[in-house]
Symmetry: C2
Subunit: 455 residues, 2 copies
């Protein structure tokens, strides 16, 4: 998915001008930045963290090539910047530490998802790319978890497949969305490239064009079945849906399923099931698609509609109801040489931040359900009954955790969600999960807010 080298120009200009400004001012303390979600999206009490693997890949391979720095030098804004800064960029290689919430874990507002500790210039340059990758993947993984939970709301396992490649925001987004949807709980994807890249199952049926391209619907069905005898899922709604189901049923037990892509899925699902069953095709599955989302699926499931598999595209891969999380990447502390640590926070209207490098502690009940989280300072001892969530992935520029198979990340998200009390998993949850602030962090925040009043 990623190129061998990640291009340093895939960022906002201001990251590079600030880098030049820090460089020229010889101001490059050790800095800690944290990426987190400031406000939760509506109807969601949790997020499924996703995108870290691509973030790590980017950080480790980020380079500036000669043509990149040549281009930068042509920009008027860099006119007064020393040539040595561009040499610095040419030699750029991330030298810091990355701590993060493991992918697939769930998190809540204000909890760091990625934490960068590095010289200020290095940490600053990463901002734009990190925000965009964590945004799309965490949005989609969370949406997928919701869709999958709706599909299984009655306790029966109904797979959900990502059909979103055509609606994602371009082919790059499609690949990231497919990965995130899988980690969030989907059975697989229709995206071939993503499936290969991340070792995910790949699925497909047929388009309406297939049915139209032959002399009749029956002929189209037969022709498909002749080539894919074990894998035939017939799209039955090109003309009149129930007539299509009858033609599919006429092919007998050889077919694996039918797909409904329009109309009233509840009614058509029931009638199709009856038609199939009357023909002894009780093992033929019904797949439904067509602008589905978690609410529509929950409604179908609650009404007992006999749909076995859902294909979900648009709504999931663009996270339609909330297509961009309120993610932020904030400087929380710096340290120059042997000087004391300086803490940083914003105090602008509605955008207060919390100073200091942090850790998140998760508390569990005896039955393994999550009781609460506490955001504390990085060097706090984990309180009794809790475990720290942020883990080291890169130390001094070297990766210290091997990549984890997508399948395992999916299991992790399923486990994490199963430990979250049901009330926070509801599709309309407005309830904030209890996230405390440790006494030490709380004191630091108060002191810091007071000090900054006068700066």
């Amino acid at each position: 998915m990623m190129s061998i080298e990640s291009n340093g120009l895939k960022t906002d200009l201001y990251e590079l001008t600030m880098a030049a400004g820090y460089y020229q001012n010889r101001h490059n303390p050790q800095a800690v930045f944290e990426l987190y979600c400031h406000t939760m999206p509506p109807n969601r009490s949790y997020l499924v963290a996703c995108g870290l693997e691509q973030v790590l890949d980017y950080i480790l391979t980020l380079r500036f090539r000669p043509d990149d720095t040549r281009y930068l030098k042509t920009l008027p804004i860099f006119k007064k910047v020393d040539a040595s800064f561009f040499r610095y960029l040419r030699n750029f290689k991330f030298s810091g530490d990355v701590w993060a919430l493991p992918e697939g874990e769930i998190c809540f507002a204000n909890e760091p998802i990625v934490q960068i500790r590095a010289p200020l210039i290095e940490a600053q340059i990463l901002e734009t790319y990190l925000l965009s990758v964590i945004n799309i993947q965490t949005s989609v993984a969370t949406k997928a978890a919701r869709v999958v939970s709706a599909a299984c709301a009655d306790g029966r396992r109904r797979p959900v497949v990502d059909f979103g490649a055509r609606r994602a925001h371009g082919p790059g987004a499609a690949i990231m969305a497919a990965r995130a949807a899988f980690i969030g709980g989907c059975l697989g994807t229709s995206n071939v490239h993503a499936a290969r890249e991340f070792a995910m199952p790949v699925f497909g049926t047929m388009a309406h064009s297939w049915v139209e391209a032959f002399e009749s619907e029956s002929a189209a069905f037969k022709r498909f079945h002749s080539v894919f005898p074990q894998h035939t899922i017939l799209l039955v709604d090109t003309y009149a849906t129930l007539a299509g189901v009858k033609k599919a049923a006429a092919l007998g037990r050889g077919i694996r399923g039918i797909r409904l892509d329009s109309g009233n899925l509840h009614t058509l699902g029931r009638r199709s099931r009856r038609l199939l069953d009357e023909n002894g095709l009780t093992s033929v599955k019904i797949l439904a698609s067509g602008n589905l989302n978690e609410y529509k699926i929950l409604n179908l499931v609650r009404r007992g509609c006999p749909i076995d598999i859902f294909g979900v595209g648009t709504e999931m891969v663009v996270a339609r109801d909330f297509p961009a999380l309120d993610l932020t990447y904030k400087l929380v502390q710096t340290k120059c040489g042997n000087a004391q640590v300086r803490y940083h926070m914003k105090t602008s209207a509605g955008k207060h931040t919390m100073p200091g490098r942090k850790q998140v502690f998760r508390f569990f009940n005896q039955d393994n359900t999550i009781r609460k989280d506490m955001i504390g300072l990085f060097d706090e001892k984990p309180p009794a009954g809790s475990r720290p969530l942020l883990v080291a992935y890169i130390r001094r520029g070297r990766r210290v955790q091997a990549p984890i198979a997508s399948e395992k990340l999916k299991k992790r998200s399923a486990a994490a969600l199963s430990h979250l009390p049901g009330t926070y998993r509801s599709l309309r949850s407005q309830k904030a999960f209890p996230v405390m602030i440790s006494p030490r962090l709380s004191r630091l925040k108060t002191v810091q807010a007071r000090n900054q009043g006068g700066c």
Copy 2:
């Protein structure tokens, strides 16, 4: 932006299984597919067509490498497919024609944006990629046109800059969104890679982290100004906004602008302007950012808020209110050798399509405003007073129109919009622009619908 070769696996599996099915059934007639928007998004009467250049690039460079076909052969669904099909893929090279609406032109529901005429297999394989690229770029170009029109609603020119890289759906989406935002009317982008790739102006200010990284806000401002004397736009809301403005004003005429990124922009804008003016800094600009969209900007402009430049991110680059268009790619006709043309249409509930290869004719009034459009058949003579909109870009696999500079595409969209009557440009427009169906197309549709009743 694009790789030298576009990878054939960046598509839905079903495009490739259908390709195999057509191949194995020796069914590969000349086919025509059309990509269009089925239903307009709410509050929009027009779309700004965008993304064609990346579509053409993809079509001309689409290849299957040995490892691609090797991967496909491992999938159980391809088990019964002849080895010769994979050789076919290995030799794949698009041989057909592409007609399209020029980028930057405006269009309406049901009007073809891209039209592919090629052997069925070739045309089918393109579907997924084309939909995703036209979707993101047309969504964003349209949104940008709306945002820019709001910013200039009182007749004064206030530039809008794309600040969306961090919120776009990954770095690939960010580049496409930056291009589309520019074509839709933005002055430039913060995305360095996109700016270089598409020769667009690139802009940036500073982050809150810059301000926090120094010993005081004043020091941070001075340090920035020392490195970027002609290009200093100071972010004033890290702590107390108006105090920040005063510190910026203390730097005098050297600075170019200030940026407001939070709080009540109307009040802060007026007070900031007054503070700057009182210090004789009448030429210092005020830039506003922070979750802006066309409605918020229109409100600020209508209330006379003295903001000079808008930085717009999230809402524009993910087209927040409607992040995925209802685009569709439909088979409209096929022709086997010397046989008669066969017309194709879907008749499923709510998804009727129109058969036959089409052309769109646009009618103008004497003052050059657009009067109406008419969708007709491809070989119809343009009716008097109209001009056909779809143009040939690729013929027999060869490009016949050179790429057009982004700057020119932006001018084209501005011109096209200026010719659209104001009522259809309103931000809350629910009014459908008059798009007629030609009598010949209408007859074909009726006959075809009747014929398909019995198939």
